[in-house]
Amino acid sequence: MLLAAKQSDDSKRTTSWLEWVVFGVGAVLLIATLGLLIYETFIFEKTPPNITITLGEPDHRGGKYNVPVKAQNTGSATAAVVQIQVTAYFSGGAREDGQITFDFVPMHASRNGWVTFERPPSEADSLRARVLGYLVP
């Protein structure tokens, strides 16, 4: 049907069905792009970076105790050079620090890494993580 309709103005220009398909896909993508950007510019609420840290189950590899660290940015701005400190507090007042730096934690995204300890963190009274600071690029 589309082809039949095209036949009539073939004298002006030959548009193959393939071109119509590519044009259709292109039009949908372009409209979606513009729509998304307009939404982001005028409606989407901008919030500063907000980093939350989740620690996973420690494991023992290569003579070190490794704790998985997941940093999640729930804000709608990207944080750069995110420095995170994980501290294990042992009974008797001993403590051990681990540190990790993520180059980028983009908006609404997460990054994963590990911090390592000499002593088993499972023996610690508590294991605490906090964000030391970050840049807004």
């Binding site: 220009r13 044009f23 292109g26 039009a27 372009l30 950007l37 510019t41 609404h108 990054r111």
Partner: protein, 302 residues
């Protein structure tokens, strides 16, 4: 159906050239770290401007040098939409293959990264469709209204402005030259615009060296246009004396400065810095942009 197969094959060949051009001209950007980061840093309003301006540039390119003869406004619009679509798809594919967009990223960030990379790809697709074709295949582009051809105005300046048609032709020719300069400048300058190097050079270079750089930009682009027998430079209208040469070179450097400052603004390089540093960075970027503008004017026309 058999009558349809020829246009389909022709179309496929065009798209093949478009894909090749899109990759050829923009792969450096797809492989540049600053551009991946830009996806999560760049303001959506800047991105909106970027998309609209790229679309306008594609429309203008299709109007002046595009692949169709006797085309209408709608045809050029259709081509520009196709090129945008191919740019977006190609950019998404390469970014996915190189693991630059992953499921860890937010939807907004994935979309922004793809859109930023897609714009230069779309320009590459448009240029590739026209420029990479075999000459004499009947698809050489708009012979009827190419920007300005030597044979058209072989009569020299006494021909120009004698009638309304000539005046319109000259307007169109000048507009076409400017669009080609913008496009060439964009293709070359966008490859280095997002890098830190422009900022560093702008910061650390003294003012007198920047002036030499600017003069060199003017001299080299003038050489490309008029004195080096560059491929396609015979279709640049012959100048009427040194004033014409100077005006043409200055307008081309203007295009280079325009493109450079827009790209730097787009990549947030103009934020919280004094005017002098903005100018310094613009001059640094305008050097490759001016080369691109001059080369664009000679090489990009058909």
């Amino acid at each position: 159906m058999p009558s349809l197969s020829k246009p389909v094959i022709t179309t496929l060949q065009q798209y093949g050239r478009g894909l090749a051009g899109g990759l050829l001209f923009s792969l450096p950007l797809l492989y540049t770290m600053e551009v991946w980061w830009a996806g999560s840093i760049i303001d959506p309003l800047h991105l909106l401007f970027f998309v609209v301006i790229t679309f306008a540039l594609l429309l203008a390119y299709n109007y002046y040098v595009g692949i169709r003869q006797n085309s209408s406004w709608w045809d050029e619009c259709m081509d520009a939409v196709e090129e945008m679509g191919m740019g977006l798809l190609l950019s998404a594919l390469i970014l996915w293959l190189t693991s630059r967009v992953t499921s860890e990223m937010s939807h907004v960030q994935i979309a922004s990264t793809i859109i930023i990379e897609a714009m230069p790809v779309a320009i590459g697709v448009a240029v590739g469709k026209v420029q990479l074709g075999a000459s004499g295949s009947g698809e050489g582009g708009k012979k009827g209204h190419r920007p300005k051809s030597g044979d058209r105005h072989s009569g020299g300046h006494q021909n120009i402005g004698t009638g309304p048609e000539n005046a319109r032709d000259k307007d169109r020719a000048m507009g076409g030259q400017f669009v080609l300069a913008l496009l060439g400048a964009t293709i070359i300058a966008s490859n280095v615009a997002p890098t830190e190097e422009i900022v560093v050079v702008g910061l650390e270079t003294s003012a007198w060296k920047l002036i030499v750089l600017a003069l060199m930009s003017l001299a080299i682009s003038g050489t490309i246009l008029y004195y080096s027998n560059f491929h396609g430079s015979d279709s640049i209208p012959k100048p009427d004396g040194w004033l014409d040469v100077a005006a043409s070179i200055v307008s081309m450097y203007g295009a280079a400065l325009l493109v450079s400052s827009f790209l730097l603004w787009f990549f947030h390089r103009f934020e919280d810095i004094p005017l002098y540093l903005m100018a310094a960075q613009t001059v640094v970027l305008a050097f490759p942009a001016a080369l691109g503008a001059a080369a664009g004017r000679t090489l990009l026309q058909v």
